[in-house]
Symmetry: C2
Subunit: 514 residues, 2 copies
């Protein structure tokens, strides 16, 4: 996978671009576009220039049409033309050169160095019950207490980036069509229509399962718990990526299992070599847990060949592979990266997915398919939480079964890409020199490496005092190895307030560096 900035081609003229966009601008609600009834003309115009810049049609250094050109070509007022250009300038896309006009800017983030690679040869250290939960809880509690104005610590997109009305209407329709939905017992294995919809989408993505193979769960986190309990028990060692999602570390701690952190590249994912060595060194590794696509917190996407090698290694070693695939629908582009599960020939891969990030953060709906452990997982699920509520599943199935869902996903990916690019640009501009950043090709998170091993705990505290929430890197490992990283959420629209918050974060970081 690559982590390059968008390639910015040269060769087109501003004139050509303004011709190009004029049609689109005249159709404010073209199909497939988000419904933005109150969006002013200057924003629509700006966003069309922006997409031309992002597509490379307008390259760094190209001159933008002048205010006068814009007025004439787009039939807009002086004020609208000025607002358009200023909006793009504020977003960091244009720079004004005195007496020459506006030019497309070289993105600053192209100059920021990517995050460093891990030391593959460092000794590994299986940790058990090291108090990661307390540490995470402490950060969560402090953030909760201060209720930051700008919270970049989570991994959800802004509520309005989801299909608010369509989901609400689907929920109301479900209740109207089945008035006793809330008062009838739930089917033991979840709603069959929902399992069909999920299985059909999985089939399209190359995972050959039927609805009966789908176990519906309370989000991906229950799926991970079930997967781990299906194949391991207290005292066992589980290989995980390093850094990894703090929720996985908490789960392992709560189950009394040991996390063995395997070096993971922010660009290519978990090191197969290090994993193989670990399997040879520690005979008792009972499972490997990975997020092959848009790893949390790194954002990296494993290449297909890498995934295939991983699946084969685990199968050969007889170690179950647990795949957490909560983010792949948020990868840039029209085709989601393949799941590792598609290379599974023996049922050795337990595949866990979630709709929490892609469909609705207010619906804790996940699912899994467990190969040879399917019956055991069903037993564990039944004995712990029984079936999920049916109305959530019916609501999700009705919406996900319609073409609107794929349109929503395209819009969401596009919004996330814009937001990610703009945040990366702001970080590149505001953060101290030596800050490092790899911008992922999708997803909701940015993983920022602070200069000179500055502790993210200090940044967390100082930022919180100014009403800004961040996730300190230290919670993504049982060690202190990632203390000098921050995970920032790019799930919110890039507003002036967000821009200012990033500027403040940059200042705070600089001050802490002294």
């Amino acid at each position: 996978m690559d982590m390059q900035p968008l390639s910015l081609n040269t060769g087109s003229t501003p004139q050509a671009v303004s011709d190009l966009v004029s049609t689109a601008v005249s159709q404010p609600n073209s199909p497939g576009q988000p419904h933005q009834p109150s969006q002013p003309i200057y924003r629509r115009l700006a966003e069309h220039y922006l997409s031309a810049i992002q597509a490379g049609t307008l390259a760094a250094g190209d001159r933008m049409p002048s205010v006068r050109d814009l007025m004439r070509q787009q039939h807009v007022s002086l004020s609208t033309a000025l607002q358009t250009l200023r909006y793009l300038e504020e977003g960091g896309w244009l720079e004004a050169r005195p007496r020459s006009g506006y030019f497309v800017r070289q993105p600053r983030r192209a100059q920021i160095r990517p995050v460093g690679e891990p030391n593959i040869s460092a000794p590994l250290d299986p940790a058990q019950y090291v108090g990661i939960h307390e540490q995470v809880s402490d950060f969560i509690a402090r953030r909760h207490l201060k209720a930051p104005t700008i919270d970049l610590s989570g991994m959800s997109c802004a509520p309005e980036l989801y299909a608010v009305d369509a989901l609400k209407n689907a929920a109301i329709k479900a209740l109207r069509e089945q008035p006793t939905l809330l008062t009838s017992p739930m089917p033991i294995n979840g709603n069959s229509h929902f399992r069909q919809v999920v299985a059909r989408r999985a089939l399209n993505a190359g995972i050959r399962i039927s609805a009966d193979d789908v176990v519906v769960t309370h989000g991906c986190i229950e799926a991970l718990n079930l997967a781990l309990r299906a194949v391991a028990q207290a005292g066992d060692t589980i290989a995980v990526e390093s850094p990894t999602y703090f929720g996985l570390l908490q789960t392992l701690e709560s189950l009394g299992m040991r996390a063995l952190e395997i070096p993971t590249s922010p660009h290519t994912g978990i090191s197969i070599e290090a994993l193989e060595l670990a399997m040879q060194t520690y005979g008792n590794i009972k499972a490997v847990v990975v997020v092959p696509t848009l790893q949390n917190p790194l954002g990296c996407i494993m290449s297909d060949s890498h995934k295939e090698r991983l699946v084969n290694l685990c199968e050969q070693q007889g170690v179950p592979l647990i795949e957490d695939d909560a983010y792949s629908e948020l990868a840039d582009g029209d085709v989601a990266p393949s799941a590792a599960k598609i290379w599974d020939r023996s049922g050795n891969v337990i595949y866990c997915a979630s709709l929490n990030k892609v469909l609705a953060p207010g619906m804790r709906l996940g699912w899994m398919t467990c190969g040879k452990w399917n019956e055991r997982v069903k037993m564990l699920k039944f004995a712990y939480t029984r079936a999920n509520e049916e109305w959530t599943q019916i609501t999700a199935a009705n919406y996900m079964g319609s073409p609107a869902y794929d349109r929503h996903l395209r819009r969401l990916r596009s919004s996330l890409k814009d937001q990610r690019e703009q945040m990366a640009e702001a970080i590149a501009e505001y953060f101290p020199d030596e800050t490092r950043l790899s911008v992922p090709n999708g997803g909701v998170g940015l993983w920022v490496e602070l200069p000179r091993k500055l502790s993210s705990k200090a940044v967390f505290g100082a930022a919180l005092d100014e009403g800004i929430g961040v996730s300190p890197g230290v919670i993504f490992s049982n060690s202190d190895r990632f203390d000098h990283y921050l995970r920032l959420c790019c799930g919110k629209p890039f507003t002036r307030e967000l821009d200012q918050a990033l500027r403040r974060l940059g200042v705070i970081t600089g001050q802490l560096l002294g």
Copy 2:
């Protein structure tokens, strides 16, 4: 607690009763009554006579008003008067004596012997992973496959016995008032209004907690899992009632814990003496799990002094007491029996409750309050399923916070009492001699002891072949001790079909006895 039939006083005349009911009958939709727009007059009239019988105003042997009396006193037609009397006769409440008219019948179930007491001195046997899940699954799968027309195996009431419209409207209102409810991240500890409503109701019942002490769970089953994991681990021994809810046995098996079954009286509940002896014999009992009110499957309610002794014993022995209180709001009468938790002074009682049976079987909403283990339980909950979805909680809170909820509970209790009495009556009439039954003072289940140790597995299979689902007693223990019992659900309105199904069950049982 007592398990006597309703006391039937004598002394009032039919004339007085018909005066009494005439007012009520003329007000078809009086406040606090279920909304039954299409209920015919004969049904309303019959139900008012029925309540007079149940209240003892009309006693066994009393003569009912004649057809002519009914027509004159109630201003109804000949056909309505006839239907009223026949309806009550078919329900087993009246008997027709040739040339004398209708008389209130002596309930047959008054002649059936109560279920036998356990042998307290039998040796105990801690069982671990004995395959109870497979056994239960097998019964569930067979039932699922055959899809019985009359299913008496579950423990839910009929959907229409709940506040179908009010809940649906509350859900729709929640979605309308908070359009981004489905697309916003959930608060970590559950919805605060819901926790407040729950805490307030608990306070009224004598449990001194605040909203912060409430952990919202996916039904009582997740609460039980969390409670067990908070205080014990794989390999530990847990004392449980015998017989006990099969779900608890499955949970223990899935957690790798051993169930130590303590003899439990169908009339007074768990034997404190046997429990005390077990604690002395087995040093490693890590928790005691009980259902003090309307035990599943026995239906017994422990007396207050019994509960207090149990709480004190556990505290003295340093063994956590896990109280499963899913049914107490279904106990007959206007005041629910006290929870054992109210005698807890040291935080040694983990209290688990559920709204699944009392509010809505389609909402998997439970809660718990955990005394000194509250923080550990919150950690385990977060690490396994995160927060429950908020829309369910908001819907529940809005409805439960209104006076309509208590009216619903009164109606539900009253319906259940009728259904339970009628089913008991039918069992007494149709089942072979020597069948034993104790009719509980509330709840959804009847625990039937079959004659001559007849295996309930045989009854289960033969009944299923005729489209009738029952729960075989064998699933309520890790031993075969309760193989000659059936648990039958009385959560459905007593219809002609249900009456016929019970008649068939009686015939099947007789045939199997040979």
